[in-house]
Symmetry: C2
Subunit: 129 residues, 2 copies
Amino acid sequence: MTASDRDDGRFSYEGLDRIIHERARLSVLTSLVAHPKGLPFPDLKRLCGLTDGNLSRHLAVLSEADFVTLEKRFAQNRPQTVCRLTASGRQRFIGYLGVLEQVVRDAAEAAASGPESGRRGLDPATKPA
Amino acid sequence: MTASDRDDGRFSYEGLDRIIHERARLSVLTSLVAHPKGLPFPDLKRLCGLTDGNLSRHLAVLSEADFVTLEKRFAQNRPQTVCRLTASGRQRFIGYLGVLEQVVRDAAEAAASGPESGRRGLDPATKPA
DNA sequence: GCCGTTACTTTGCGCCGCAAAGCATAGGCG
DNA sequence: CGCCTATGCTTTGCGGCGCAAAGTAACGGC
């Protein structure tokens, strides 16, 4: 063994789903989890600070992957697309959040423990000959 | 005003720097913040669960953006690239972590508050005529 | 002197984020 | 009724990037 086998993948964070781990989509999902009844396209657009085209594309991706449902209806004689989180989407998003939390914990802990102190001598960079 | 102006960009998370917000690079930065003395290429590769090519590419990007320094030296008659976080890189990474934490807080709070209860009647989806 | 191993770098491809352009309908206004 | 602007999205185009496979180089047995 290579003396660091036990740490293999320690920071690989495989739970960071590519579909979710993207600024715009993270915004969308967070918005939707905060609005369980669903959100109309324009509101979502404003909350996330996205352009029409952008939001449209990301919603298509999220819908394709069954994270959200898109209900196209009419309100006040205007088309209105209402976006809602699916149960499975909610589940997977929560799982992702757990990983994110782990990242923050790992990093915060490390950042606090050794800005100037370092880790005295336990470091692989100084492995013996 | 559109009755939701105060919430514009509420979930836009502009602090999510594209350079950092990427699984592989997030892994690298977290590894490095946990090892302030620096890490040799192979160790970093194992910690992050990355292939050689991948790690090389991401290190080039991080180095380009002045997040890390790459010291190429020789140890045990073999080439050894040691990666270290720069002060500014550390600073920016910590800033990013703050935003991540905000994301987790926003989402966790929302997810806890309304899985089944919803937000009775305050929802933009049910705005009056 | 070949052969495998270690330590990277380079190349190539496919997908994706993003903005600009497009399309369709509604609602004033003369 | 015809025009014009605003709203609500969708589609298109392209530049960039993540990723894996191939390439380079140097050392260490045998």
